[in-house]
Amino acid sequence: MRDANFSRGLVPLSIGSVVLLVGGFAMVFLYAPSDADQGFVQKIFYLHVPLAIVALCGFVAGGVYGIRFLRSGDRVHDLRSYVAIHISLILAVGALVTGSIWAKASWGQWWVWEEPTLVSFLIVFLLYACYQPLRFSIEDPERQARYASVFAVVAGAFVPLNFVAVRAVESLVHPRVLSTTGGSMPGSMRVTFLIALAGMALLFVTLCKYELTSKHASFQLRALKRRIAGDDDGWIPVRRSAAPQL
């Protein structure tokens, strides 16, 4: 493994995430006006939509790192792909739960199976829920990294295709935000939304860096343990894991 320093810039990133998220959420309640149609419950929009957008972008980023691993064979890219998908899954859980709460408040139902936006997001989530079991099922680290990268690339390509396909069909109840009119949001709402989105994106990057730093520290510790135990040939078995082995 080449010399990696994943913790670089972690402190300013963490501070930036906190400032943007707290500032953004403060603007949600103190600056952005209540929606004329939905009223106060529309405040969930500033949390739910950034969660969904950042999760989907994270899945695509996982695919991009998958391509980089397949091209270079550098395990660091596999680790990055794994971490991006891992954190995106957490954010996707948040998007699903907050969306469901919003649906109950707004439409009177926790879930609407006829709505393509909801179902397509659930399909993407379930697809990526298979990623960790897939990794865990393969014992050989080399094969695990290769197969997982192929999965990340194929699933990553499915995300934008899915997004376009959903927008091509008629929406039942779910509003469209990313349109040329910006979902017809007034300026104050749009600024608040963009700050919340930036905060969520920064939180994603920060959590990825935390995870990468933690994994790297564990790998270094294991290598040190082997050296002290005089096991440079690596005959001490490594515990089976879904996480990449550097």
């Binding site: 939905q38 106060f40 408040a105 939180l203 564990s218 040190l224 002290i228």
Partner: protein, 65 residues
């Protein structure tokens, strides 16, 4: 559906933001468990590293005899 009044919408909004807070806190708790494990393993390594010179000194003493 008509817009919910503030009193009825409040719990839904609070629940959504609390879900997000809970997710972040659960992640922090998991990271704390991992950190504790790394700390424990470093402690074991430090103990092993301290033990090594003592063992080597014993070996040298035996050979010199």
């Amino acid at each position: 559906m008509p817009a919910l009044p503030l009193g009825d919408a409040g719990p839904y909004v609070a629940a959504a933001y609390l879900v997000f807070l809970a997710l972040v806190l659960i992640y922090v708790a998991i990271m704390a468990v991992k950190l504790a494990r790394v700390e424990r393993e470093i402690g074991e390594l430090a103990a092993l590293a301290e033990q090594r010179p003592a063992e080597r000194a014993d070996e040298r003493e035996t050979v010199s005899r």
